[in-house]
C-alpha cells in the first residue's frame, strides 16, 4: 500500500531468533512479546536503511495503543534519527489521524487514486484470508503430511505477485483449485479445536510456534477465531463482533481491552458450536488475557469445554508447546471416546 503512495518500502525480514536477541537488550522486561518482536523488526528495518516507520496507535486500556510512543522513545534513546508515524484510529483522535496521513502522502499524489489503492489492498487481504482458510480446512485430511503447507506457500507467492484486481482474482481461483486437488482422506473424524487469544500471537506463526499447523498435522481441525481482513473491518471501519461480546456478557461485562472479552465470548461460541476444546494463546504478562484466563475456568466448568492456555514469550521453546498441545489433544480424544461409549485405551 505504501509503495503505491509513492514511497520506497523496505520489508523487514520475518521475525526470527535474531530479532528477539536484538530486542531483549532494549525492551522493558515485562513488555509483551508483540512489543518486543515489533521493536526488533524496526531495528532490523533500520539496519536495512529505513528512515521512516509507520505504526499504529490506539486508545487503552490495552498496552498496544502506547507501543508507538514508547518505541519512539527507545529508538531515540538508541540514537536513531527516524520519523515514526503513528496512525491513530480516525474516529477517536481525528486530528492526529489526518496530520499523520497528510505527512505520509508524498508529492504528486492525488486523492483520486486513494480509493483505487484501498480497494486493491483490501481485495488482496481478503483473498489471502480465503486461501488460508481453505488450507486449514484441508490440512487435517491430507494423506501426505506437509503437502498442504507446501502448496499453500507457493500459492502465497503467486498471490503476492498479483497486482491488478483481475490478477488477484485469478491467483485466488488458481490457489483454491490447487489446494482442492490435494489427496485427502475424508473418512477421518478430526477433533475440532478453537484457537482464541490475543490477535498478534494468534496471527503470527513465529510467536505461536505454528500451533495451528501443529494441531492440524496431528489431525485436528483448528479454527482460528481471528483473521486479518475480518478484524481490520471490525475495528478500523465499523464496530463488529457484537455477537461475541454478547456471548461474553454473562461472564465478563466490562471491556478489558485487547482481546480479553473476545477470548471469553469466543470460548462460549465454540462451546455452543460443539467444539471439542479451546486453546488460548496469549503473550506473557498480557493483562487482558490474564483477566480472561482467570475467568475461563468458570466458562469451562459451566459449558463443559476444556481450555488450555499457552502463555508465550521469547523464552518459550517449541518443544514445550508441542508437549502440552499433544497432551491436550490426547485428553480431548479420550474425552470424545468416553462420551461416545467406546473402550478407552488406558495406556500401558
Amino acid at each position: 500500500m505504501f509503495a503505491e503512495l509513492g514511497h520506497e518500502v523496505i520489508v523487514p525480514p520475518p521475525p526470527s531468533k535474531h530479532t528477539l536477541d536484538l530486542v531483549t537488550k532494549y525492551a522493558p522486561e515485562f513488555a509483551c512479546i508483540p512489543f518486543k518482536i515489533l521493536l526488533g523488526t524496526y531495528l532490523e528495518a533500520l539496519a536495512l536503511g529505513a528512515d521512516t516507520i509507520v505504526s499504529t496507535g490506539g486508545i487503552g486500556p490495552c498496552r498496544a495503543g502506547y507501543y508507538g510512543e514508547l518505541h519512539r522513545r527507545i529508538l531515540e534513546d538508541l540514537g536513531y534519527n527516524i520519523r515514526l508515524f503513528i496512525i491513530e484510529p480516525p474516529l477517536k483522535r481525528p486530528g492526529d489521524f489526518f496530520r499523520t496521513i497528510m505527512s505520509l502522502v508524498s508529492n504528486g499524489f492525488t486523492w483520486l487514486r486513494f480509493p483505487v489503492i484501498l480497494q486493491r489492498v483490501w481485495a488482496k487481504l481478503n483473498a489471502i484470508d480465503r486461501v488460508e482458510r481453505a488450507s486449514h480446512s484441508i490440512r487435517p485430511y491430507e494423506v501426505v503430511k506437509g503437502e498442504t503447507s507446501r502448496v499453500y506457500e507457493s500459492c502465497l507467492q503467486e498471490l503476492d505477485k498479483a497486482c491488478s484486481l483481475q490478477e488477484i482474482r485469478d491467483a485466488e481461483r488458481d490457489a483454491l483449485a490447487r489446494l482442492a486437488s490435494i489427496e485427502q482422506d475424508r473418512s477421518r473424524r478430526p477433533l475440532k479445536i478453537g484457537l482464541i487469544g490475543e490477535i498478534y500471537v494468534v496471527l503470527e506463526p513465529f510467536a505461536n510456534h505454528n500451533v495451528q499447523i501443529l494441531l492440524e498435522e496431528m489431525g485436528a481441525l483448528a479454527d482460528r477465531s481471528i483473521y486479518l481482513a475480518e478484524w481490520s473491518r471490525g475495528n478500523a471501519v465499523v464496530a463488529g463482533e457484537k455477537d461475541v461480546k454478547r456471548a461474553a456478557r454473562p461472564f465478563l461485562s466490562e471491556l478489558v481491552g485487547g482481546h480479553g472479552v473476545n477470548s471469553i465470548g469466543q470460548t462460549v461460541l465454540y462451546a455452543q458450536q460443539g467444539f471439542d476444546g479451546v486453546i488460548q494463546l496469549a503473550p506473557f504478562a498480557c493483562i487482558p488475557e490474564i483477566v480472561a484466563k482467570s475467568i475461563l475456568p468458570r466458562v469451562s466448568r459451566e459449558l463443559n469445554i476444556p481450555v488450555l492456555t499457552l502463555f508465550l514469550d521469547e523464552q518459550t521453546g517449541e518443544g514445550g508447546i508441542r508437549t502440552r498441545v499433544e497432551a491436550f489433544v490426547d485428553l480431548l480424544i479420550q474425552r470424545r471416546n468416553r462420551r461416545e461409549g467406546q473402550v478407552v485405551w488406558s495406556g500401558i
Partner: protein
C-alpha cells in the same frame, strides 16, 4: 449489615471515603487486616498464577473476609475511571468477575461500576448504593461526610504523612502515636519512592522499605504527596491509559523537577505488571534526562525482606557517596571503578527468585 472491605488495591487510596460512607448509612464496616503471610499464601492459592502479586493479595483479603461468616457482603467496586480519560488497569476492570470465578463460595459482592468522570457521577453512584442497601439512610449526609473524610486523608498525605499512619481511624490497627510526618525529617538524602499505592504502602509486600528508608535517615517522598493539580502540568502529548500509571509518572516528574532536590528514585514495581513495563521505561528516560539515579525493585510473592534490604542499602550508600562529591560515579549503564569498566545488566527473568534489580548502578 456487616460490609467487608479488603485492604488491597484501590482501597489504599479510597478507604476513608467508602468506610465513612457505609458507616454513616448505618452499616458496620469490617476492614481486613494488614497483609500478612497467611493472607498472601491464601491469595496465591486461590488466584490465577499469572496475576500480579497485588491482585493475588486482594484474593487473600477476600478469602479472609469470606471465611467464618465474618461479613454479610463484600464491597468490591469495579473502578473504571476517576476524573480523567485514563481508566484503571484492565485487571481492575475485570476484578469482580475474576474474584467470583476464583472462589466457590463467597458472600454477596457489592459491585457498583465506578465510572466517575465527574463528582456528580460519584454522588449518583452513592445514591444508587444507598437506595439498594440502606433505604432509610440519608445519602446526602453520608456522601458529605465521606467526601470530607477523603479530603482530610488527602491533605494529611500531601503534608507528608504516609497513608498507613492515617488509616487507624478506619481500621483495627494499633494507632501510630508518632504524629510526626515522615517528611521533612531533615534527612540528608531525599528519595522519591514511586509506584502504585498498593505496592508502595503495603509494607508486607515491599519488605517495609519505607520505614527502613526513614530509619536510615532518608526523607521519603511518594507520588501521592504531589497534589493532582501539579501533576497535570506534566501531561504528555499522549498520556498513558491507566490512572495510577499517569499519577506515578507525572508526580515523579514533579518531584524530580521540584526544589526538593531529589537525590534518587526508587521505583517499586510488581512482577509481570503490564502498565509498569511502560512506566518503568519512561521513568528511566526521565531520570536519565536529569542525571538522577534510579533503582527498580520488582515485587512478587517470594520477595524476601533480606533481598530488598540489601538493594536499598546499596542504593542509599551510592546516593550518599554521590552527594559527598563522588561525581565520577556515572549512571545508567556504565560506571568507572578506576580499574575497569563494569557494565550492569538487567538480570534475566527467573534468575533471581526474590526481587530483580535493574540496570542502574
Amino acid at each position: 449489615m456487616r460490609i467487608g472491605i479488603p485492604r488491597a488495591l484501590y482501597f489504599y487510596s479510597y478507604l476513608p471515603f467508602w468506610h465513612t460512607f457505609w458507616t454513616k448509612l448505618g452499616h458496620k464496616v469490617i476492614v481486613s487486616p494488614l497483609t500478612n503471610k497467611g493472607i498472601l499464601d491464601h491469595g496465591v492459592k486461590e488466584a490465577s498464577t499469572d496475576l500480579c502479586v497485588p491482585v493475588k493479595v486482594l484474593h487473600g483479603h477476600i478469602a479472609y473476609l469470606a471465611a467464618k461468616d465474618k461479613v454479610d457482603a463484600i464491597f468490591l467496586p469495579r473502578m473504571v475511571n476517576v476524573g480523567t480519560k485514563a481508566t484503571f488497569c484492565p485487571k481492575f476492570l475485570g476484578l469482580p468477575e475474576m474474584v467470583s470465578s476464583a472462589f466457590c463460595q463467597l458472600p454477596p459482592l457489592i459491585v457498583p461500576r465506578g465510572d466517575l468522570g465527574n463528582p456528580w457521577r460519584l454522588f449518583d453512584l452513592c445514591h444508587k448504593l444507598q437506595r439498594q442497601w440502606a433505604p432509610e439512610g440519608s445519602v446526602w449526609l453520608a456522601y458529605r461526610a465521606a467526601r470530607s473524610a477523603q479530603n482530610r486523608f488527602q491533605r494529611e498525605i500531601e503534608q507528608g504523612r504516609l497513608p498507613m499512619d492515617c488509616l487507624h481511624n478506619y481500621t483495627e490497627d494499633v494507632p501510630n502515636h508518632d504524629r510526626r510526618a515522615i517528611i521533612p525529617s531533615g534527612g540528608a538524602l531525599r528519595v522519591a519512592v514511586l509506584g502504585y499505592p498498593y505496592a508502595v504502602y503495603d509494607s508486607f509486600l515491599n519488605g517495609n522499605s519505607l520505614k527502613k528508608l526513614h530509619k536510615m535517615g532518608v526523607s521519603v517522598y511518594t507520588a501521592d504527596m504531589v497534589p493532582l493539580g501539579e501533576q497535570k502540568r506534566y501531561r504528555r502529548h499522549k498520556d498513558l491509559f491507566w490512572h495510577y500509571s499517569n499519577v506515578v509518572l507525572q508526580a515523579g516528574q514533579v518531584l524530580l523537577d521540584s526544589t526538593l532536590k531529589i537525590d534518587g528514585v526508587i521505583n517499586i514495581s510488581n512482577f509481570a505488571c503490564g502498565p509498569d513495563a511502560m512506566v518503568g521505561k519512561l521513568l528511566e528516560f526521565e531520570c536519565k534526562k536529569r542525571a538522577k539515579p534510579m533503582i527498580t525493585l520488582t515485587l512478587d510473592e517470594q520477595t524476601g525482606e533480606g533481598g530488598i534490604n540489601t538493594r536499598i542499602e546499596a542504593f542509599v550508600d551510592m546516593l550518599a557517596r554521590r552527594k559527598d562529591g563522588a561525581h565520577n560515579l556515572s549512571l545508567h549503564g556504565q560506571f568507572s571503578t578506576g580499574f575497569q569498566t563494569v557494565v550492569c545488566r538487567t538480570r534475566p527473568r527467573g534468575d533471581c527468585p526474590t526481587a530483580s534489580q535493574q540496570a542502574h548502578s
